[in-house]
Amino acid sequence: MKREVAEKLEGMSADERILLRPLVETSRGFYVMAGLLGAVTLWGLFAYYLQVRYGLGRTGLNRPEYWGIYIISFVFFIGISHAGTLISAILRVSNAEWRRSITRSAELITVLVIGFGAIQPIIDLGRPDRLFNVLFNAQLRSPLLWDVISIGLYFTASSIYLYVPLIPDLARIRDSGIKAPRLYKFLAAGYQDTPEQRARLHKVIGILSIAVIPIAISVHTVIGWIFAMTLRPMWHSTIFGPYFVIGAIHSGIAAILVAMVVLRRAYHLEDYFKPVHFDYLGRMLLVFSLLWFYFTFAEYLTVFYGAEPAEMRTFWAKVSGRYAVPFWTMVAGCFLIPFALMARRSTRSPPGVLVAGIAVMIGMWLERYNIVVPTSVNPIWEIESPGQYLPSWIELSIMAATFSGFILLYMVATKFVPIISIWEIEEGREESAEVAERVAGYLPEPYRKLLDFRAIGDE
């Protein structure tokens, strides 16, 4: 760190000192990690080059296993992207004050991961060179096209939703002059934090946080419908839309929690990510692990009870057959582990949520595996023999590169924007008296009098 930058940082408020430090100071560990992730990403790019050069034959896909790792990753990453926008929007709309230090890191996950999710079906195309046929020859009856529309809309909306609450912080960096003055001058878009601008900012954030909720829900609903609209056993299910939304939010909360634990440690944010945040988000994870179990149970019981032969072949393949290991690992990851850990206050701590978060992410990846593969390899017509699927190293490399590429981009982003919204933290402090009053307003009158009395006493 340069001396003048260090001096500037010293002259700032405590919030700014801590939250802007990652922008100007980079540890050696960061470079090592970035180098490793970069290498994995480049390896994946090389694998994709081979796939484009020689064809999708380089994957392990076949007939009838037409979809594999890429589609699983697609559903998984788009699911993770529900982390940010949806959760931060819900917390903003419901005026949850504890949201202030977590919205930014969550929204950033959304915007960065959605791109990595959206490229998966393109990687999966036999003819990526004809991608734009989707626009030129669009057939609106196809659920795949509904997806193109809703993901496009979601990406646009969540990018704006990330950017708008960033503006006051960008203006602050511009004014402090600690980093790339021209870049931040451009990004801050002339924001001067006048009362008028501040009021407009709040209004826009208010509108956006309502608008993104239906868009976010539509995205994963439509992804569920891609499967549900076909006649395949255990895909053709009416609950797939909401089931996918629940699963997406489940993995999204897990992703936020893991990111928070890592950020807290890497950037010493213990004062911002407090036990209360892990406690509350842990409770949300608990609720969603129960919801996930409820949906899964409802789905499997319905299939089992109806006992149609074609459905049962897929059912048994999952529950006790060839896919029993991924199936029961999924149940452990999505439900048993997070439930056991998040049901207890003492394990709703950073180590506890880290374990639960990783378990849920593995479980949710496996959930998509258990949806895509067992149905694909079991054709409806019972005379046809079941298929097989073993992903090739090309598919696994591209998947690894997707993970590493996302983490790398997220790391780099923390070097350009404060990962916790500085202005919202400050605003929260300023408004805490108003909040106390608001909370008191929920109660019957005598309590208000009590509050007034105390306020007089303070004077």
Binding site: G55, R63, Y66, D124, G126, R127, R130, S142, R232, W381
Partner: protein, 227 residues
């Protein structure tokens, strides 16, 4: 209204595989290597599926030659994002190879798994290259292909009939599988034309269609075996 369809008599099928071979050579279907075949990437627009019943030695085998069912209500065409698969006026479900983006959604939507994907570019042994069919376009790598009821034969038969100033006769248009079947198990024609054999055969009490309850309305009928 013409509705091309097929009736396959399972009592007559001996599983000789002539229909598969005829289809492959008629439609320039690529030959995959043994390693690719082991990975379940064989392409066979017409394929004889085998059903084995009972325990050895008291086993019964049934054979189902399976082309595309040419559904009247095809699940594959609804899901295609680029209108690359369609049903024409005469009920034949086609694939536009030059437009297909290779997403394989149609292949997943098809309950009969009769849509085949070109995992690699097409290849043939040198000896076969000599007699590729000039009437059928070769499919590039990365697109879906499927049985077309030898649609190119219909076009040719129509032109011939027009040149000779007469109507199209039943025998003028026969797909390669029906033409070559040595036992006459595969009968082809216009399901809506009472003079064609298929129109009568499809009313046979033994007539059934695969996965009929899905409502896909296949135009390929099977005559169930009597035993």
């Amino acid at each position: 209204m013409t509705r091309w369809g097929m009736v396959i008599d399972l009592d007559r099928c001996t599983a000789c595989g002539t229909c598969e071979v005829a289809c492959k050579s008629e439609n320039n279907i690529a030959t995959v290597s043994p390693e690719q075949a082991d990975m379940d990437r064989t392409m066979s627009w017409m394929k004889v599926e085998v059903e084995v019943e009972g325990e050895f030695p008291a086993t019964t085998m049934r054979f189902y030659p399976r082309p595309c069912m040419q559904c009247d209500n095809p699940p594959c065409i609804r899901v295609c994002p680029v209108k690359a698969t369609y049903i024409n006026d005469e009920g034949i479900v086609g694939q536009i190879y030059a437009r297909c983006i290779g997403c394989r959604y149609c292949a997943n939507a098809c309950p009969y798994t009769v849509k085949y994907f070109n995992w690699y570019g097409p290849e043939w042994p040198e000896s076969e290259r000599q007699h590729l069919n000039p009437d059928v376009s070769v499919r590039p790598r990365g697109v879906i292909e499927k049985c077309t009821f030898c649609h190119h034969r219909l076009q040719k038969a129509r032109e011939d009939a027009r040149a000779e100033g007469r109507d199209l006769r039943e025998e003028d248009y026969q797909p390669a599988c029906a033409e070559t079947c040595p036992t006459g198990a595969i009968v082809f024609g216009d399901l809506d034309n009472p003079t064609h054999r298929v129109a009568e055969l499809k009313e046979d009490p033994r007539a059934m269609r695969l996965l009929e309850d899905l409502g896909t309305e296949p135009k390929v009928y099977y005559l169930a075996s009597r035993q």
